[in-house]
């Protein structure tokens, strides 16, 4: 197994290279460059080409594409991730400032959705066909179908503007923030994000649990006289979890870029908003680092999922 993991990690290197190049290329193919977004369009009318050229020169935008990519790669390899084209702030600082907010939001939503999703999924499977199952399945469908922005706006309208019990958005308390002071700001975005994620886990959990409940080894376990809850939870749930874990595992990359919509609606100062702004303003160094880490997380998640499935299901061997 260890040789498998080492091989997988070595595979990461060429893949990251190719993908980073693709992202850089994608940015290059978009019309315009960072300078076009530094000056508002109406003001551009009064600037001449020499001035714009000087700004591009100062930002290193006049170099050919491959040279810029290689410079970026060289910097990366030396731990220099570059500076934001817009603000001149090191992109690592920007990540450091925005990541905690996103992680706070996405971890809460992920944990919430995984726990509730698994519990409710199992309940549905065990109570298959009952009213409870049908109601939960329906809520699950709603969770999948209703877009996050709609749910978000409904919540803001209800809880903030009418009931006035939660703030409309943002993530703030005056200097010396504590988690408890921030909590009211977290509730709505985390619940909205969590709700749509729960539905998926729940439906996966239900069908996978149903699947494993019909398996022969369950009958064997029962015939051995093992109590029903032990049969369900130790034998049934463990194998049923495999596809659920795959699903949750592949949600890990969400930790970085997965909450764009929710962040926008709730004015949440996370990576999502930063990333959207960076793409729109052609801020290549910033897009590269966020894209790079998102991709890295996707690749890592796939390795982690492999390992966990092997641990969960004795029939899977990593080789």
């Amino acid at each position: 197994m260890s040789s498998y993991i080492i091989r997988k990690f070595l595979m990461l290197i060429p893949m990251l290279l190719v993908i980073s190049f693709l992202i850089y290329l994608g940015m290059e193919l978009m019309p315009g460059d960072a300078v076009d977004f530094l000056i508002p369009p109406d003001a551009l009318a009064t600037m001449n080409q020499e001035q714009l050229h000087a700004m591009r020169e100062a930002l290193g935008l006049n170099d050919p594409f491959f040279l810029r990519y290689l410079k970026w790669l060289w910097g990366m390899l030396h731990g220099d991730f570059g500076y934001s084209m817009q603000s001149g702030v090191p992109v690592l600082t920007l990540m450091k400032n925005h990541l905690p907010a996103t992680i706070e939001l996405t971890v809460t939503a992920l944990v919430m959705s995984s726990v509730f999703g698994i519990i409710l999924g199992v309940v549905c499977a065990l109570k298959k066909g009952t009213v409870a199952d049908q109601i939960l399945s329906m809520i699950g469908m709603i969770g999948v179908a209703v877009p996050q922005f709609l749910l978000g706006l409904i919540c803001i309208n209800g809880f903030s503007l009418h009931l006035n019990i939660l703030p409309v958005g943002g993530r703030m308390a005056y200097a010396g923030q504590t988690f408890l002071e921030r909590l009211p700001y977290l509730v709505m975005p985390a619940v909205v994000l969590g709700f749509s994620l729960t539905a998926g886990v729940m439906r996966y959990g239900r069908s996978s649990m149903l699947d494993s409940m019909g398996k022969d080894y369950m009958k064997t376990a029962r015939s051995k006289g093992i109590p029903e809850w032990r049969v369900n939870f130790l034998h049934g749930l463990r194998t049923a979890m495999t596809p659920v874990v795959v699903l949750i595992g592949f949600r890990l990359p969400m930790l970085i870029g997965g909450a764009v919509v929710v962040e926008e609606i709730f004015q949440w100062p996370g990576i999502g908003g930063l990333f959207v702004a960076a793409v729109r303003s052609q801020n290549t160094p910033l897009v590269m680092i966020i894209g790079f880490f998102s991709v890295l997380l996707v690749l890592l998640a796939s390795i982690i999922v492999d390992i966990i499935t092997a641990l969960l299901d004795p029939r899977i061997k990593l080789s």
């Binding site: 693709l22 076009d36 369009p41 603000s87 409309v168 764009v260 100062p269």
Partner: protein, 575 residues
């Protein structure tokens, strides 16, 4: 396992590409924003294209005929558009200049008259198979709606048009002038461009029609116009300026060198909790005296809530000195201005005198001025700021025109001298000498703030905005930057070192992060989290007017939306 690995790689790649494209398509980078009115969609058939190909070789453009430009104007019922689309929250433009004492009352009348438009087009032999290529660069829905409506009006007089949104390097696509300013050919590839001019001074509307303007991509050299423009720029006397602009307006109007459409207004939103002590509201695109130190807020935390907090940085003021309220509160100018942006009394300068020949201004700085970091503010800072404005790209056109008129500016810009000869310091007195009279000098000194030399002297002018100073700037205004959480919020604290005290009670200004357009403004106002804000969006105004406890006051701004008409010879873009 092989399959899984393949799936994982594919997933990673698709996430990477997906992230890029998903964000791109939502934003200003969309490449499919072409609007074609329903009726004309089928009109551009193959036969017309085939017929027209031969005539393109004789160059020229039907838009060079003034009758065509007049007809295009008269075909648009702009009054109906203002009433319908903008719900009356804009003003019909007869000229670039907004109604008032600066507008010539006797200008050519191009009110809606489709019959006359058809006649003019007929007289001008308008080629009926020609399709106008109309470009714009705003990404709001209102612009798309406006373009659609105008397309239909033109359709009614027999003019076909296609509209497309420009992406990327706008300056290169819109404003590059031809080498030959009389005969062209055109360096830009469109017939009409929908644009806006946000002017501090009238000259910003008209200087661009001069044959020497670096951004005149549309108007060939006109007999006598350059002289009129030069005359308007070389006097500081208001009456003489008004007369000069009357002449220019008449010339531009008679020849319909461009098509002014409407003047936009700005809306200033205040909450019932705020008492602005009778201050007059005005053009919030720029700075003017609001007497904020006298404002009273009915909140226990003595905090005024507003927007415009920094997303990635505090805006450097060279492009827009007064757009963000934080620039206005953190930085002081040499002179103050009133709500009409007319320079008034001194600010950092206790007094100022303009020489009899208008070619020099003396500023007398107040004693004991300080920066927020307690360093002294000296005439050296003033000189440094002027020099920086000459070197930083993006400095607003009016400001850079004034700065360039200072004696020795050319040598300084070209690096022949490392000190600007025209700015002379004598104790607390700063004298600025001009090579030629610069009409807007006082207006510029009332708008552009003085920056601290000790914190910015090592900044690279070309990348001034990227200097770390703008993460938490130090100024000399009535409020100083306190807490900054970028892209979230920032607070300003009343500064006890300011030269004035005021009678108000606002201790803190809390700014929610937002850019030029704040998409959260209405929501935050609904939640009672906005005491003062402004925007140009009629949608914002409509929504905020319905919120209890919020008020909206319209104010006139020199912001004119128009079509520039490409009169230089060019091949039809749509074949």
């Amino acid at each position: 396992m092989k399959k899984k690995r393949l799936i994982a790689s594919l997933l990673a790649i698709s996430v990477a590409i997906g992230l890029l494209t998903a964000c791109g398509s939502g934003g200003s980078t969309s490449t499919t924003a072409e609007v074609t009115t329903a009726a004309e969609a089928g009109a551009a058939d193959d036969t017309s294209a085939a017929q027209r190909t031969p005539e393109t070789t004789d160059a020229g453009t039907p838009l060079a005929d003034v009758r065509v430009r007049q007809a295009l104007t008269m075909a648009i019922d702009i009054e109906a558009i203002v009433e319908g689309l903008f719900e009356g929250k804009a003003e019909v433009a007869k000229s670039f200049t907004a109604p008032g004492e600066w507008l010539n009352p006797q200008l050519a009348d191009y009110s809606y008259n489709p019959e006359r438009a058809r006649e003019l087009l007929k007289e001008a032999n308008w080629p009926s198979d020609y399709t106008l290529d109309v470009v714009y660069y705003y990404d709001d829905q209102q612009t798309v709606d406006l373009m659609t409506v105008i397309g239909q009006y033109w359709q009614e007089v027999g003019v076909k048009a296609q509209f497309r949104k420009l992406e990327g390097d706008l300056a290169a696509q819109l404003w590059v002038p031809p080498a030959d300013r009389l005969n062209g050919p055109s360096q830009v590839k469109w017939d009409l461009a929908y644009a806006a001019v946000a002017a501090l001074a009238e000259s910003e509307f008209y200087n661009r029609f001069a044959s020497t303007a670096s951004n005149n991509s549309t108007v060939p050299k006109q007999e006598g116009l350059d002289e009129l423009i030069t005359a308007s720029n070389s006097t500081m006397d208001t009456a003489a300026q008004i007369n000069a602009f009357f002449e220019i307006q008449k010339f531009v109007g008679e020849n319909q060198l461009a098509i002014p459409l409407y003047h936009q207004v700005c809306f200033i939103y205040t909450s019932d909790k705020l008492d602005t002590a009778g201050s007059k509201f005005g053009n919030d695109q720029f700075s003017y005296e609001k007497n904020i130190l006298d404002w009273k807020i009915d909140r226990t935390d003595k905090t005024l809530y507003t927007n415009g907090g920094p997303q990635e940085f505090f805006w450097y003021p060279m492009v827009n000195p007064g757009y963000m309220i934080n620039t206005e509160l953190v930085f002081d100018k040499l002179i103050n201005a009133d709500a009409e942006l007319i320079p008034t009394d001194g600010m950092l300068a206790e007094s100022y005198t303009v020489a009899a020949d208008d070619k020099s201004i003396e500023f007398m700085l107040r004693d004991g001025l300080k920066w927020h970091d307690e360093q002294p503010l000296t005439p050296e800072d003033v000189k440094f700021t002027i020099e920086l404005m000459l070197k930083a790209p993006g400095t607003n056109a009016v400001a850079s025109e004034v700065m360039s008129a200072i004696a020795g500016a050319t040598d300084f810009k070209e690096g022949k001298t490392d000190s600007l000869a025209g700015v002379i310091i004598d104790g607390n007195k700063i004298t600025v000498n001009f090579d030629q009279v610069s009409a807007n000098a006082l207006a510029v000194f009332s708008q552009w703030p003085i920056l601290p030399k000790h914190l910015l002297e090592h900044a690279v002018p070309e990348t001034l905005q990227q200097d770390q100073f703008w993460q938490k700037p130090i100024g000399s205004g009535p409020f100083k930057v306190d807490e900054v959480i970028l892209n979230n919020y920032a607070t300003l604290k009343r500064w006890d070192g300011y030269y004035q005290e005021g009678t108000g009670n606002i201790e803190t200004v809390h700014m929610f992060a937002s850019g030029e357009n704040d998409s959260n403004l209405v929501m935050n106002a609904s939640a009672g989290n906005i005491d003062y804000a402004w925007s140009k969006s009629t949608d914002d105004a409509k929504a905020i007017e319905t919120i209890e406890g919020m008020n909206s006051t319209p104010a006139n701004i020199k912001y004119t939306r128009c079509f520039y008409v490409n009169q230089f010879p060019h091949e039809p873009n749509i074949k």
